[in-house]
């Protein structure tokens, strides 16, 4: 099992008491799955995304990634796990504006143990695979949203992570670019990569082969190979 989540609770202090963003959630994700996490805003899907991405720790419960207990890791180990095992694709692309496409893709390698001699080549390969060979030296501002998101996917892929974590990856894109990005993610999944996709759009979720639905911090639906309609917002 790649991901194993057991009774995960996340509380945020609010005023005198606290509010539960996740109120006890359990599920597993196997290697090679393409999972869509759905739910309205406030359902806890972003909190789950942060925990799955090792950006945050649960208040209680266990989260295992590839057998390792993430929920009890220290900051350094979390950083290492983010670098090695997880590739992030964000809604706002989150490229560093001062760096070129190539430099942005090289960034995760500078925090990993990649010899500096091979970084440039690997980054070039990753960008070419996403059809960006002619944009290597462009800065984010000189690229369209779709291109920026493809740079972000190249960056997420370059260290061959165990899973790609995409948080509303098409939220800032038009439908043509959205389709391109989703096709790229689907292709990665076909190549065997685990993809976890957080979205509230059912068209986007339809690319996945499994759908987890959240509401009020609880998992309310888990459909494998969803038929049309099974992954809708309710």
């Amino acid at each position: 099992m790649l991901i194993s989540v057991r009774d995960v609770v996340k509380e945020y202090p609010m005023g005198a008491g606290s509010v539960k963003a996740l109120a006890g959630v359990s599920f597993d994700i196997s290697e090679g799955e393409f999972v869509a996490v759905m739910g309205p805003s406030g359902s806890g899907k972003s909190t789950l995304m942060n925990i799955l991405g090792c950006l945050d720790r649960p208040t209680s419960g266990e989260y295992r990634l590839a057998g390792r207990l993430v929920s009890s890791m220290g900051d350094g180990e979390l950083a290492h796990t983010r670098n090695k095992d997880i590739g992030f694709v964000f809604q706002a692309f989150n490229l560093l504006p001062r760096l070129t496409a190539l430099e942005n893709v090289m960034l995760p390698m500078s925090y990993g143990m990649v010899p500096s001699s091979s970084r440039r080549e690997r980054a070039k390969e990753a960008l070419s695979a996403l059809g960006l060979s002619d944009k290597l030296h462009n800065k984010p501002k000189q690229m369209s949203g779709g291109e920026q998101q493809r740079v972000a996917i190249a960056r997420a892929l370059v260290l061959h992570p165990k899973m790609i974590l995409a948080d509303e990856p098409t939220g800032n894109l038009d439908s043509k670019n959205s389709e391109d990005i989703m096709k790229a993610l689907a292709r990665l999944n076909e190549q065997g990569r685990t993809v976890v996709l957080v979205t509230h759009e059912k068209d986007i979720a339809a690319y996945a082969n499994r759908c987890l639905r959240f509401r009020d911090g609880l998992l309310v639906g888990d459909a494998v190979k969803p038929e049309r309609g099974q992954c809708d917002e309710d």
Binding site: G76, A79, L96
Partner: protein
């Protein structure tokens, strides 16, 4: 992450806003330049004063009466007289020469209409050689003139130039405090007082035989100072100790005389000038601290501006240490660049200042080491807090920040 990478990152951060980086480092530039200029000027002035003192003659021991401090121009009745000189000459070994002096400041020297204030120095036979005075024209005093206290004089060459304005002084008569003296020669050399030598002040002087001076000034056998020139530098301490012993035996009270060597004066002087230099450098160092606060201020702004970037870097696997190193190195770089520029600036100012003041420019190695380590230290010290603030950001919060 490797050091080279961290350096590149930090340099990139600085390049993003070069004007800001320059203004930030200005405090350190000024501080380092000030420290270097002050130390250079202090050391240069010290070297100048030391060379003044050394020009008085090395291997010299000064015996003064009445006080342990060298006040050879004191007119108070002295415990020293001709017999003290004779005793010292008789009992001390290793002397190259010895001379006694009776002096009086503020005498009026007149020739025709010209009138100049000068010091009268009455000296024994060896006075000129012991005090390194060079005859520039005419002749020295004869033994007969010395013995009878003849009214003859040697003029300091600058006094002669002023007084005679191109005329040949030898053979002419000048009036010193109303009495008439025949000029038999001129001399150069710093037979000035020690204190004046320290300050580098030149004064006009008239040299007359000791016997003449004793008759005209005090009417006694008193002398105001005795100069002992030691043959070998290695014997200085031995001769000095022996001189103290002889004087103690001869005189009733130890406080009645002082024995001082050039080394003592140099020691005292070194202490005084060093203290002054360190004090001033300390004040200059305050501006370094102010510069450091400027760096901290800008680094805090920079961290706030780059929270999103920090979040992204952390999401991509940057550890606490990576972020800490990035910002810390940036602070140290700004500070060190300021230190380097300040060093160049300080060096130039010191060179110009010393040329204007006419003393050697001295930028000792320790002032450079001090300035560089100070600027690195300041970058580190004032960079730690902002860098730590950046490193402690939680990735979730940093990513969410807009």
């Amino acid at each position: 992450m490797r050091i080279r990478e961290a350096l590149r990152l930090a340099a990139e951060g600085i390049r993003t806003n070069p004007l800001r980086a320059f203004l930030t480092s200005l405090g350190v530039v000024i501080g380092v330049a000030a420290v270097i200029v002050i130390i250079a000027i202090g050391e240069g002035a010290r070297a100048q004063v030391i060379s003044n003192i050394e020009s008085l003659g090395s291997n010299m021991i000064y015996v003064t009466g009445g006080s342990a401090k060298p006040v050879p121009y004191s007119r108070q009745s002295s415990v020293l007289d001709n017999s003290v000189l004779e005793t010292l000459e008789g009992k001390l070994q290793g002397l190259e020469g010895a001379a006694a002096e009776l002096s009086r400041a503020g005498a009026r020297v007149k020739y025709g209409k010209a009138s100049i204030t000068a010091n009268i120095l009455g000296g024994t036979a060896d006075y000129m050689s012991v005090r390194n005075l060079e005859l520039t024209s005419g002749r020295r005093f004869t033994d007969a003139e010395m013995a009878e206290g003849a009214r003859v004089c040697l003029l300091g060459s600058d006094l002669a130039d002023e007084l005679f304005a191109g005329e040949m002084p030898i053979g002419r008569k000048v009036k010193v405090d109303g009495a008439s003296y025949r000029v038999i020669g001129t001399f150069t050399g710093s037979a000035t007082s020690l204190l004046r030598a320290m300050a580098g002040i030149k004064i006009y002087q008239v040299l007359i035989p000791l016997a003449t001076a004793q008759r005209r000034i005090t009417g006694t056998q008193d002398v105001s100072a005795i100069y002992l020139k030691v043959a070998r530098a290695a014997d200085m301490e031995a001769v000095r100790t022996a001189a103290e012993k002889v004087l103690t035996e001869k005189m009733a009270y130890e406080e009645n005389f002082g024995v001082t060597s050039q080394a003592d004066l140099l020691d005292t002087l070194n202490t005084i000038t060093r203290t002054m230099t360190y004090l001033l450098a300390g004040i200059a160092a305050v501006s370094l601290v102010v510069g450091g606060i400027g760096i901290m201020n800008i680094m805090l702004v920079s961290v706030t501006e780059r929270i999103k970037e920090i979040g992204i870097r952390k999401a991509l696997g940057a550890t606490r240490q990576d972020i800490l190193a990035q910002f810390l190195i940036e602070a140290v770089m700004i500070s060190c660049a300021g230190g380097a520029v300040g060093m160049a600036l300080g060096w130039s100012i010191a060179a110009i200042a010393s040329r204007l003041a006419g003393w050697p420019s001295l930028v000792p190695w320790y002032s450079i080491a001090l300035a560089l380590s100070f600027s690195t230290g300041i970058g580190l010290f004032f960079g730690v807090y902002p860098a730590n603030k950046a490193a402690s950001l939680q990735p979730v919060d940093a990513l969410r920040y807009e």
